[in-house]
């Protein structure tokens, strides 16, 4: 290999390295521009400085590169453009950052939240058609029931009860269905409880505690059929969820006056 050839190879290599460096610099500059533009759009959409700075700080920490910041910001922009409150998305981002979850996973869960939110909102609009005013809380509760694993087709079936039942009761039904399934209660039993609650319009938000009753009763060795029957009885009588405990032989508490110390036991007392 002659000297001329060596010099040529060296020159080409230097040029190549320079080209890479310059190219990367340009790409970095482009990405920087994109981040700036995403931040500006986010600000225009009214996304708070706190959320924006959280995302940027995370990218500066090196846990998140610039492209992830752009993606996260663009999801938030999309959420804001769709007129959806940012709080649940912000909470999810913070939760993800706090738990050091990979940015791709955070993006995925934000996209899922967005889709579910839009789905629930559309369903509520269609089902109630302004006959009931539903709240942000109702939407989030329904979205949460999907998070707990309630599929869309089952949620659609519950929406068939609308507009006869309130959005609040609908969301209580959905959450109960999802939670009870998570603790492995038989689907038929769950459906019969939910049906009783909806047809008697007695599924108040206090029934969100029902799954705790089930857990406590099962620990005591009471069968799920017995629990379901007690729940249906109470729902038919439009009673409070706490009444199930009494029906299942748990002790009761007097939440107004405390125990009956100087008098004989009341009719509402403990059932053996």
């Amino acid at each position: 290999m002659n000297v001329h050839y060596k010099i040529t190879i060296l020159s080409v290599s230097i040029l190549l390295v320079l080209a890479i460096i310059i190219g990367q610099g340009t790409a970095n500059a482009d990405q920087k521009k994109m981040v700036i533009s995403a931040v500006e759009t986010a600000r225009r959409q009214g996304i708070s400085e706190e959320i924006i700075s959280n995302i940027l700080a995370y990218s500066l920490d090196g846990k998140n590169n610039k492209s992830h910041s752009i993606h996260l910001l663009s999801i938030l922009i999309r959420v804001s453009e769709a007129g959806i409150p940012l709080n649940p998305f912000d909470d999810k981002i913070n939760e993800g950052f706090g738990k050091q979850i990979q940015p791709e996973k955070i993006e995925k869960s934000l996209n899922k939240l967005f889709d579910n939110y839009v789905f629930v909102r559309d369903m509520l609009d269609k089902a109630y058609n302004n006959s009931w005013v539903y709240s942000e809380k109702d939407i989030l509760a329904l979205v949460e029931s999907m998070d707990y694993g309630l599929p869309r087709n089952e949620l659609r079936l519950l929406f068939e009860w609308a507009p006869a039942i309130s959005p609040e009761m609908l969301s209580t039904a959905a959450t109960n269905k999802a939670l009870l399934r998570q603790i492995s209660i038989d689907d038929k039993l769950i459906d019969s409880i939910i049906y009783t609650g909806l047809s008697n319009q007695s599924l108040t938000p206090r029934w969100l505690l029902f799954f705790k009753v089930v857990v406590a009763a099962e620990k005591k060795g009471i069968s799920s059929t017995k629990i379901a029957n007690a729940a249906k009885d109470v729902l038919t009588q439009k009673g409070d969820v706490g009444k199930i405990l009494e029906k299942l032989g748990f002790t009761s508490r007097d939440v107004r006056h405390g125990p009956h110390i100087d008098s004989p036991p009341s009719a509402n007392g403990h059932s053996p």
């Binding site: 206090r206 505690l209 705790k212 009753v213 406590a216 620990k219 005591k220 060795g221 409070d240 706490g242 405990l245 748990f250 002790t251 009761s252 508490r253 939440v255 107004r256 405390g258 125990p259 009956h260 110390i261 100087d262 008098s263 004989p264 036991p265 009341s266 009719a267 007392g269 403990h270 053996p272």
Partner: protein
């Protein structure tokens, strides 16, 4: 409230000045009179100042009690109490009592999650009041947070080991979680403090049942019935006792009611009622004694002795008519049998060689 105070104060002050003025006019005449009058003036002034002070103390407290949230709570006007206490909390956010009663009011109207927030706040603001922890525990129970419930009662008991209700509900908490021995020891603790707490007496018997300690269970039911032989729980206790073949207490069907009473007993081999059976009739017929719409059937069983059975039935009729003169003799029917009474309890058949049954039906 200060307006009321001032109004009264001003009125009284005006009266004092008027009195002082009158006094001044009358005391000018003689020096002796002047000294006397000055004394009188001084005494009156002191009395009036005391009066103002007393009124000043009493009137604001009256004004305070009228619209006070805590008073509304005590009057069981829970909704009103919540709205009043929430206003009071704006000016006194760090008042533990207001937070506590706000929590209690919310709990009473079943707004449990909010109740817990205020009760918790009360325990933070004043950490040495066992009732605050006790009611926080009740709040946790209503919210199905059983572990937190237990912890709260334990905190109450750390401050006051003899806190009756915290001991009792801690027992309930253990019982609900099948911790029978712990529950039993709690109920025993409660009965050490107060031997008449019905829930502890009743649940103690239940605990023995779950522990399969039949002898102790029977003893505990009897103990309960000796103290409380009326109401729903007494019926259950009697059923449980009869289920073990113990008929020292029985359920009598009197009209629409099921009444629990000790078994009616006679002296051995005769028709003289045992002294402790005398009050049974008062207990049995106090509800229908004056109601002439009922027929009373007395049935006496003495196995193998027709005559004693008959004389016992007649003795009871006489006892009923003596105790309730408004009951006509024709309204009390008697029958007697020289066989054992057959009773089915808890799926088992029992035969009582000597017994009395009383039934009452509408005519």
């Amino acid at each position: 409230m200060y307006d009321i105070d001032n109004k009264y104060g001003l009125k009284i002050m005006k009266q004092i000045f008027r009195k002082m003025h009158l006094m001044e006019l009358t005391v000018i005449s003689t020096t002796k009179q002047t000294i006397k009058a000055q004394k009188r003036y001084l005494i009156t002034a002191i009395l009036c100042i005391c009066l103002i002070h007393i009124i000043g103390e009493i009137i604001p407290s009256f004004a305070k009690t009228e619209n006070n949230g805590i008073t509304l709570f005590k009057q069981e006007k829970y909704l009103l109490a919540v709205s009043t206490l929430s206003k009071e909390l704006i000016t006194h956010p760090a008042d533990p009592d207001i937070n506590y009663f706000m929590g209690r009011s919310l709990l009473a109207i079943n707004r449990v999650d909010k109740a817990i927030i205020y009760l918790k706040e009360a325990t933070k603001l004043s950490q040495d009041i066992p009732d605050y922890y006790f009611w926080l525990g009740v709040g946790y129970w209503a919210n199905m947070e059983f572990e937190n419930e237990k912890e709260s009662y334990l905190k109450a008991l750390k401050i006051e080991p003899d806190h009756l209700t915290a001991n009792l509900y801690l027992g309930h908490n253990y019982m609900d979680r099948n911790k029978w021995k712990a529950a039993l020891s709690q109920y025993d603790r409660v009965l050490d403090i107060d031997p008449y707490v019905p829930e502890a007496l009743y649940n103690r018997a239940l605990v023995f049942r779950y522990l399969k300690e039949k002898k102790n269970e029977k003893k505990a039911w009897l103990f309960y019935l000796n103290k409380y032989n009326y109401g729903k729980w007494a019926l259950r206790a009697t059923e449980a006792l009869n289920g073990y073949g113990d008929f020292s207490y029985r359920i009598y069907l009197l009209g629409p009611r099921k009444i629990v009473a000790p078994a009616i007993e006679f002296e051995q081999g005769g028709s003289i009622l045992k002294p402790n059976s005398m009050p049974v009739f008062q207990h049995l017929f106090k509800k229908i004694g004056n109601n002439t719409d009922y027929l009373i059937h007395v049935i006496a069983y003495v196995k193998g002795n027709h005559n004693i059975a008959k004389s016992r039935a007649i003795a009871i009729k006489a006892q009923i008519l003596e105790a309730f003169p408004t009951i006509e003799a024709s309204s009390v029917m008697v029958s007697w049998f020289d066989i054992s009474e057959k009773i089915i309890a808890n799926g088992q058949t029992y035969y009582l060689t000597e017994s009395i049954d009383v039934i009452s039906v509408k005519k």
